[in-house]
Amino acid sequence: MSALPATPTAALDGVLQRHGHCPTELLQILIEAQDLEGWLPAQTLTHIAQSLHIPRSRVEGVAGFYSFLYTQPVGRYRVLFSDNITDRMLGNTELMDALCRKLWIEPGKLSEDGLVSIATTSCTGLCDQGPAMLVNGRAIGQLTHRRINEIAEMIRQQRPLELWPAEYFQIGDNIRRKDSLLNLDMKPGAALAAVIELGREGWLQEVQKSNLRGRGGAGFATAVKWASARNASGEPKIIVCNADEGEPGTFKDRVLLNSYADLVFEGMTLAAWAVGASEGFLYLRGEYRYLMPQLEAVLTRRREAGLLGHHILHEPCFDFDIRIHLGAGAYVCGEETALIESLEGKRGTPRIRPPFPVTKGYLGRPTVVNNVETLAKTCLIALAGGEAFAASGTAQSAGTKLLSISGDCAEPGIYEYPFGVPIARILEDCGASDTQAVQVGGASGVCLAGYEFQRRIAYEDVPTAGAFMIFDGSRDLFDVARAFVHFFAHESCGFCTPCRVGTSLLQGFMDKLADGHGAKADLADIDWLDRLLKNASHCGLGSAAPNPVIDTLQKFRPAYERRLVSLDFEPAFDLDAALAEARQLTARDDPGAHLHTHEEEEK
């Protein structure tokens, strides 16, 4: 094994030391090890494996899984353009091309001097202020050609990020409509004091009365989840806040963590009280790493205030603390069992269920995984009681919902509504006009056409984790669906056959149509793939992957049909282009050195 130069080894050992040489910390160690040199050389992986006494193959397996971990060199300035459909609608493609041209590099490639690399990444959660990018993990929104020019110049001058204009990194909350949660001005600890007063059982009863359901989209009853974990055997019990907000078009958790972190952490502590948990994790998506320092500061403050740690609020049997665990660019980790694998320092592959996390989760212990918004909402219940909470919203959907609104509207941002609000009302409030379609719930959600705008946001009608992307009459819904299909193919973990291969095949068909090679037969194959993905996939990612295609094929079918060049069959590739290399090698350009791609032209 080749030795590392002295300095990185010392720094690397420092990282390993900080994490107690603990293999469950592998992902955190890799993230911090990468900070040292910008990427993870083979020797670094070997050194980490040796120090943790785990097989190198495991370290390589984890390093190869996450988008933000690099086992090949990347630029000292690593620019990632957010590539949600909303970024595309705001012109991110042209901006990326412009930056590449100015810096003389190709997307996805490293400049020869190692200075810069530019690529795209899945939605970074700045859809309300796109087009957006991450530079060395720091988020910049509202990109314009002017900003791109300045960025190119600063990169060329090798100006450190700390010296870039501060306003670049200012991420606004863009809260447009407040209701009970966003209006809550709670003194930290107030909700905790209330539930300690109620006792664990009393508190759980309040949650049950509130009818609170998970805000991550699935809508599982929070009280049932908590009670299951409380009744499960195994110690210590774990509370996980799922802040892996990867669903394209969603950014409400970003805002809650930025401006309402106390509510989120207090909610986790309320959950711990109900469940009898002593350890908590905030699983923070890598894209929100820039929030880490301020979140750590909130945690420190809460520890000092006796709201975390031993004997919380002097309650003798109430010990609970929270650690922040970073993700590294993997949408699938939003699935709770994949998230738990990731917490354990592994590849984010969803587990077989049952057993469910409430009985066997993190390291086999009973584990509650709740959405950021769900946990924040528990503060409302603690303060005003379950019945008051259940009084708003609809019969099956109590309380309010935060919506992340982006796309074609005058005022994108965060809107809090009581459940039951009709789509049309939301469109009016955010200043949308000539709306053709709304994608509710992100890429995995549902695409609603105009005739459905009277439907309501609620678990019993249009359930959502909060994404609400608006497309006006100028948009092509095929492009929207294709962007989402690319997203799923990129984010598939690759565990099960249907999702690993099916998402790539589906992407191939969508590209075939986009590239002008579409045939009617392809639509039947797309249908067939949609069904197999839905039926056979191991987890929700695979079964949701065809949703955008299923919906748009049904509601915007002409967007597909107008792309067909044959009503029968058409090859997926350009036959003449397939001869290009041979033409070049033989210096031929005679008629026989060409092929017509469409057969009819040949007759």
Partner: protein, 235 residues
């Protein structure tokens, strides 16, 4: 009275904790699999064992049987989905049976026969997957990997070596070995490891031996994977 569920209309007895696949095979009903192995916990990645239980698609290998369930398995619909999954496995790798020493003994191929897969149907991915011939006794031909992770599990859980692991993600997922050089020769892999003989396809093959049994006389040339699997179950 023992519990039972209905598999394609036929009663199948089971004990608590038994999966649909285990109970079915024990009772003489075939449900196909590639990544499942009796000596390991269910894995559930290949999805060949997909069945419809109480109207819902589940992996038979990973789903505990339930009293009174109606399970559909050997139906045109389920077999059609299995054929589709096989087609996916064939197009994502480079499966060129005529040149493969495993041909005739390969479970992927045998399932292709079982489910009458006449065409790979989709466009071939033709991925680039170099062969590793560095080891003195064994050869790795990654072109044929179907990501069942049986070698990964065998090496980790039985051989205690973790010679193999998966890295990459999605369609770029691939098998890797436990060495900084990436070469099998630089691991402690041995031809006597369980991982050396557990591959259901032709990735991990012994060197210096080829075509000792002629094509046409091999395992699945003379017997279907269905009857062979059920026979093994009995013994």
């Amino acid at each position: 009275m023992t519990k039972q569920f209905l598999l394609d209309g036929q009663p199948v007895p089971f004990e608590d904790g038994q999966t649909i696949l285990e109970a079915a095979r024990k009772a003489g009903h075939y449900i196909p699999s590639l990544c499942w192995h009796q000596d390991f916990p269910p894995h559930g990645s290949c999805k060949l064992c997909i069945v419809k239980a109480a109207g819902r698609h589940v992996s038979a290998c990973a789903t505990p049987a339930k009293e009174g369930w109606e399970v559909e398995s050997n139906t045109p619909e389920m077999n059609g989905e299995r054929r589709g999954l096989l087609q996916m496995l064939f197009v994502e790798g480079n499966h060129f049976c005529p040149s493969c020493e495993k041909s005739g003994n390969c479970e992927l191929q045998a399932l292709g026969y079982e489910y009458e897969m006449l065409t790979p149907r989709f466009r071939h991915f033709f991925p680039e997957r170099p062969v590793d011939a560095s080891h003195p006794d064994m050869l790795l031909d990654f072109n044929r990997c179907i990501f069942c992770e049986l070698c990964v599990r065998a090496s980790r859980d039985v051989d205690g070596k973790s010679v193999f692991a998966l890295t990459g993600r999605g369609i770029h997922k691939h098998l890797t070995v436990n060495a900084e050089s990436g070469r099998l020769a630089d691991t402690d892999f041995s031809k006597d490891d369980l991982a050396a003989r557990i591959c259901p396809v032709g990735v991990i093959l012994p060197k210096g031996r080829g075509f000792t049994v002629p094509i046409g006389e091999r395992t699945f040339d003379t017997e279907t994977i269905r009857s062979r699997t059920l026979k093994e179950e009995k013994s």
